[in-house]
C-alpha cells in the first residue's frame, strides 16, 4: 500500500521510550469515516504513527481533526475503512478491558452504583476476580485519587472533577495495557483541570502504563505527554510528531516551553 506520499523528516531529540521494543500501538495508513444523518464524514485520513512502551502519546489538534474518532477506533468502537491499527501486533476488533477508555462526559459513571461499586463491578466482569479482591483493589485506587471519604457516595453527589477522578480510578484499577483518555479534563474549570493534570502525572509515575491522551489544549499536551502527534483538520492528518517528555509543571516559564508552544501553534493555525 502507498504511504501518504509526504516525506517524513526526523527532527529534534529522541523520545526516552524504549526504541528497540516492539510498539504497543502501530497505526499504518488509517482512514476513518462515520455516517451522520446527512453525510459520510471522513474524520481521519491515512494516519500513521507508533506508540512505544511507556509512551504518553498525545493526539493534539483543533476540533474536526478526528482525534476523538481516532481514539474510538483504538478503543475498538469503530473499524478503519483503510489501513490498520495493530495493538501488540494484532488488529483491533472490538472494545476490551486491555484498552480502557476515560471519556470527557461525566455520565460515563454508572449512576446506580456508589463510587466503590462503580470500580468493583467492571473490575469483576473485566478481570473475573472475587468480590473481596475487587473491593481491596477498588479501595486502593480510591485512596490514590483521594476520594476515600466519598467511596459510598453516588455519582450525582460528586463534583465534575471528582467524577473524572472516579473514572480514572476505575480505568486504572482494571490495570489495562493502555489507558485511552478522550479529553478527560475538558469539561472542568481551569483550576480543577490544572490540579487533575498534576494528579494524573503522579498516578502515572506510580503505575507507568501506556497512555494515549486526546486534547485540544497545547499546554495540556506539552505538560501531560511524552510525545505529541499533531493533527491538522478536515480531514485529520498527521502534521508532526514532537517530543515533550522533558517538560513538566516547573518548566512553564522555560523559553524552550514557549518555543515549542509557538511551534505547535504555528503548525495548527499558521504564523501568529
Amino acid at each position: 500500500m502507498q504511504a501518504s506520499g509526504s516525506m517524513s523528516v526526523m527532527t529534534g531529540d529522541l523520545a526516552h521510550s524504549d526504541l528497540s521494543a516492539p510498539p504497543v500501538l502501530d497505526l499504518c495508513g488509517v482512514t476513518l469515516q462515520y455516517k451522520t444523518r446527512e453525510s459520510l464524514v471522513t474524520a481521519a485520513y491515512r494516519i500513521s504513527f507508533q506508540a512505544l512502551p511507556g509512551d504518553r502519546t498525545i493526539l493534539l489538534g483543533p476540533s474536526g481533526c478526528g482525534k476523538s474518532t481516532l481514539l474510538k477506533a483504538i478503543g475498538g468502537y469503530l473499524q478503519p475503512v483503510e489501513g490498520q491499527i495493530l495493538f501488540r501486533g494484532k488488529p483491533i476488533k472490538r472494545p476490551a478491558p486491555d484498552r480502557v477508555m476515560v471519556f470527557q462526559e461525566f455520565d460515563q459513571l454508572f449512576p446506580w452504583k456508589t463510587v466503590k461499586e462503580n470500580i468493583t463491578m467492571p473490575l469483576r466482569v473485566a478481570r473475573g476476580i472475587s468480590q473481596r479482591e475487587a473491593e481491596e483493589r477498588a479501595l486502593d485506587y480510591i485512596d490514590r485519587v483521594r476520594l476515600t471519604k466519598f467511596r459510598d457516595s453516588y455519582p450525582y453527589m460528586l463534583s465534575g472533577g471528582m467524577k473524572q477522578r472516579v473514572a480514572i480510578a476505575r480505568a486504572l484499577a482494571i490495570e489495562p495495557d493502555i489507558l485511552l483518555m478522550d479529553e478527560p479534563f475538558a469539561a472542568l474549570d481551569a483550576l480543577t483541570r490544572r490540579q487533575m493534570q498534576e494528579e494524573l502525572l503522579e498516578l502515572w509515575a506510580a503505575i507507568r502504563c501506556n497512555m494515549v491522551f486526546v486534547t485540544h489544549s497545547i499546554d495540556e499536551a506539552i505538560l501531560v505527554g511524552s510525545r505529541i502527534v499533531v493533527l491538522s483538520p478536515h480531514p485529520g492528518r498527521v502534521r508532526a510528531e514532537l517530543n515533550c517528555s522533558k517538560f513538566d509543571f516547573g518548566s512553564e516559564t522555560d523559553p524552550e516551553f514557549s518555543e515549542l508552544k509557538t511551534k505547535i501553534h504555528t503548525m495548527l493555525f499558521g504564523a501568529v
Binding site: 480502557v100 462526559e105 454508572f110 446506580w112 450525582y156
Partner: protein, 293 residues
C-alpha cells in the same frame, strides 16, 4: 480619553477588610421551630384538606337528608366497616387483585418480548412504534365487546382487556428508556466486557430505569381503572365477582352506602399502590441514585 480613565482607575484607593464577628444575626443556619416544620409538611397539609372535605361531605349529606342517593360519611364508613368485617368486601378485593396481577404480569411478559424485538432490529422498532401509536390511544374498555364476543364472559376476557391497557405503555417506555441511555455509558459498559444478557440486565435496564418505572406506574394505573370498569360490565364472571361487580350489585339493590364503600375501597387500593408501593421503589432506586427523569 484613555489616559483620563486610566488615571481615574489609579486614583482609587485599595480596600482590605478584616472579617469581624457576625454575632448580630445569630447562627448562620438556624433550625426552624416545631410549628414551622409541621405546617410545611405536605402530609399534614393534605390531612387538613381531607378533613375539610370530610366535614363538607357529612354536612351536605345531613342537610340533603336522602341516604338513598347521597349517604353521609358516617354511613359510608359504617358500611365499609361491616362489609370488611363480614368478609364480603375482602373477598371481592381479592378477586379483583388476582385478576389484576394475572393481567398485569401477562402484559409485562408481552411488553418484554415486544421490547426485545424492538431493540434487536430496526424493523422490530418500527413495528412497536406503529402498533403503540395505533393502540395506545384506544381505551381498553372499547375492546370489551370484542372480548365478550371472542372469549365470552369470564376471566380470559378481562385479561385481554387489561393486557391491552398495559402492554403498549410499558413496552414503549422501556424502549424509549433503552434508546436514551447515553452513548458514553454504553461504550463504558462494552469496554469492561459486558455483553449479551449481562449488558442488558446490568447496564441497560438500570440506566433506563426511570423510564421503565414510569411505564410500570402508568401501566398499573391503566390496569386498575380498566379492571374496575370492565367488572362493572362483565359482572359476576368468577366465583364471587370483583370490586366493580360489588359496586354494580349494590347500586341495583339501592344499598348506596355500600356503593360509596366500594368506591372508597377502589380509591384506597389505587392510592396505596401508586403512592406507597411505587413511591417506595422510587425512593430506593432512582431518587437514591439521583437520576429522576
Amino acid at each position: 480619553m484613555a489616559s483620563a480613565s486610566a488615571s481615574a482607575l489609579i486614583d482609587r484607593p485599595e480596600i482590605e477588610n478584616a472579617l469581624g464577628e457576625v454575632g448580630g444575626i445569630g447562627d448562620v443556619a438556624r433550625r426552624l421551630t416545631l410549628w414551622e416544620r409541621i405546617s410545611q409538611s405536605p402530609v399534614v397539609r393534605r390531612i387538613v384538606v381531607l378533613m375539610i372535605f370530610a366535614l363538607l361531605w357529612e354536612g351536605a349529606a345531613r342537610w340533603s337528608d336522602n341516604p338513598l342517593l347521597f349517604p353521609s360519611l358516617t354511613d359510608t364508613i359504617v358500611a365499609l366497616w361491616d362489609a370488611t368485617l363480614n368478609g364480603t368486601l375482602p373477598a371481592r378485593v381479592a378477586t379483583s387483585l388476582e385478576v389484576l396481577l394475572l393481567g398485569y404480569s401477562l402484559a409485562l411478559v408481552i411488553a418484554m418480548l415486544l421490547t426485545i424485538m424492538a431493540v434487536s432490529s430496526a424493523f422490530g422498532a418500527d413495528v412497536l412504534t406503529t402498533l403503540t401509536s395505533m393502540f395506545n390511544p384506544l381505551p381498553a374498555l372499547a375492546i370489551l365487546p370484542l372480548a365478550l364476543l371472542w372469549l365470552g364472559i369470564g376471566i380470559p376476557g378481562l385479561i385481554l382487556v387489561m393486557v391491552q391497557s398495559v402492554v403498549w405503555t410499558v413496552a414503549i417506555n422501556t424502549f424509549v428508556g433503552f434508546q436514551s441511555v447515553p452513548a458514553t455509558l454504553r461504550m463504558a459498559g462494552q469496554n469492561f466486557g459486558f455483553s449479551g444478557l449481562g449488558y442488558i440486565f446490568r447496564i441497560l435496564i438500570p440506566a433506563a430505569f426511570p423510564f421503565i418505572l414510569t411505564g410500570l406506574k402508568i401501566g398499573w394505573a391503566h390496569a386498575w381503572r380498566t379492571l374496575i370498569g370492565a367488572e362493572l360490565v362483565f359482572g359476576v364472571a368468577s366465583r364471587s365477582g370483583g370490586l366493580g361487580w360489588y359496586i354494580y350489585e349494590n347500586r341495583a339493590a339501592l344499598e348506596t352506602a355500600n356503593v360509596f364503600a366500594g368506591l372508597l375501597a377502589v380509591i384506597a387500593i389505587g392510592f396505596t399502590v401508586e403512592n406507597l408501593l411505587f413511591r417506595t421503589i422510587e425512593a430506593r432506586t432512582i431518587r437514591r441514585w439521583g437520576i429522576v427523569s
